[in-house]
Amino acid sequence: MTRLIEVPTQFDDRSFDQFAAAYAQAADGGGERLLFDAHAAEWASPYGLVGLLAAGEAATRKGERPLLTAPANPDVVSYWARAGFFREAADLFEVHGKVPKAKVATESEVLLPVTPVRAAEDVHGVVSTIQQRASAILSSELGLDPKATMGFAMALSESCQNIVEHAGTGGWVAVQAYNWRRKLARRVVVIAVADAGVGFRHSLESTQAKRFGERWGDAAALEAALIQGVSRFRDPGRGQGLAGIRRYLARWEGKVAIRSGTARIAIVPRWDDEVPLKEGLPAFPGSQVLLIIPEQVSEKAGGSSKQ
């Protein structure tokens, strides 16, 4: 018997909990084969794509290699291919449907196609690629100071290192720029990083659980990592990465959200209405990190942020 997991038609961080709920329910079914059904998908953000790969890896670890029905819409499936999704999915899923042999994109909005992160060398590759490709987009399209490109690469590096240092397994990163009409009516650059590893609670448990006592859980672990800057390592210089990401995003009025286990924490800029900490979400393996940097709009131009 096969258990069905529907991939939301608009698959991004907002619909991810719906996907996680379907995954948690299906994965509870005692080793039955999972079918991820994306045939009706109309759009997926980088967060959706890397999250789907994480689900695929977790399902593969649990039992039989899962099935994936590719999006039926030729434009959508083509975009997923150009975003590098199917290149990675081929190792995790038995893919059904018509998948074009599209070259992974060199188009401007895919700043970094879905890229595996398993070791420090992968992070070097990601940082090198993003510096070559992101500079023009960040300055000309998003209105960021050209010097901000390096900070962007630093934030990306630290996000990826969370996988290498803490997940206990590999993961994926993707970076895209697009018009975010629905939410912000501005262009944004989105970094999405996901893994199906041990998650923040497990990673920090040995050093932090006692300190938090009964409060200890996924939410407390995320709070410790993102707000208090603690790390599982006792080395005094640890915990710099997320603090650095926060500083960078604060400067550009960006957003960071991290989902791990059953909780999600976010540093919420004024253009967003997400709650800073949400608990009791459907359980999902590993950690999923989302960074959003919006186009900078001057007050004079009627926008909500300063250049």
């Binding site: 420090a120 060398e121 992070v123 070097h124 940082v127 090198s128 510096q131 010097k147 390096m150 900070g151 690469a153 630093m154 590096s157 630290e158 290192q161 290498v164 240092e165 005094p236 210089g237 640890r238 710099q240 990465g241 603090a243 650095g244 500083r247």
Partner: protein, 143 residues
């Protein structure tokens, strides 16, 4: 004689693959260990970042903060870009550490926590490695 460390060259020696970016803890650790091998404890050293691309917080901690904490008496950085400074400054400040850095005009200034920086400048002046010039700024005399 003050040891000069060309960070980009050390990076090429320390890790396999041609990298110009100082990112990730393992890379930082490899670079620092390579530097430490030739550096006597308690020394004064110049680290030149010319040619280094991206420097992330992890590498800033693994290389600069750990050398200052455990190995050198005074660390003088040169060839820093603004982005390098942005990575190094909060890492040092958070640990209560400081280094000196050489501006493009040759003047020296503290980077990191504000308390330890004056003592670092005094140390260089005392050893006649730096001197105050008319106008008040401090520059290296040697190196």
């Amino acid at each position: 004689m003050i040891p000069h460390i060309m960070v980009h060259a050390v990076l090429q020696q320390a890790v396999a693959g041609f990298y110009t970016d100082l990112v990730t803890r393992p890379t930082g650790r490899a670079v620092r260990e390579n530097i430490e091998r030739d550096l006597p404890p308690g020394t004064i050293a110049v680290m030149d970042f010319t040619g280094v691309g991206c420097l992330d917080y992890s590498c800033a901690d693994e290389i600069v903060a750990k050398l200052v904490r455990d190995k050198v008496k005074v660390l003088l950085l040169r060839g820093l870009t603004e982005a390098h400074r942005e990575a190094i400054e909060p890492v040092l400040a958070g640990a209560g550490l400081a280094v000196l850095c050489e501006r493009a005009d040759g003047g020296l200034e503290g980077l990191g926590a504000s308390e330890p920086a004056p003592a670092l400048l005094d140390e260089l002046i005392e050893r006649r490695l730096a001197a105050r010039i008319p106008g008040g700024s401090i520059r290296l005399t040697a190196a």
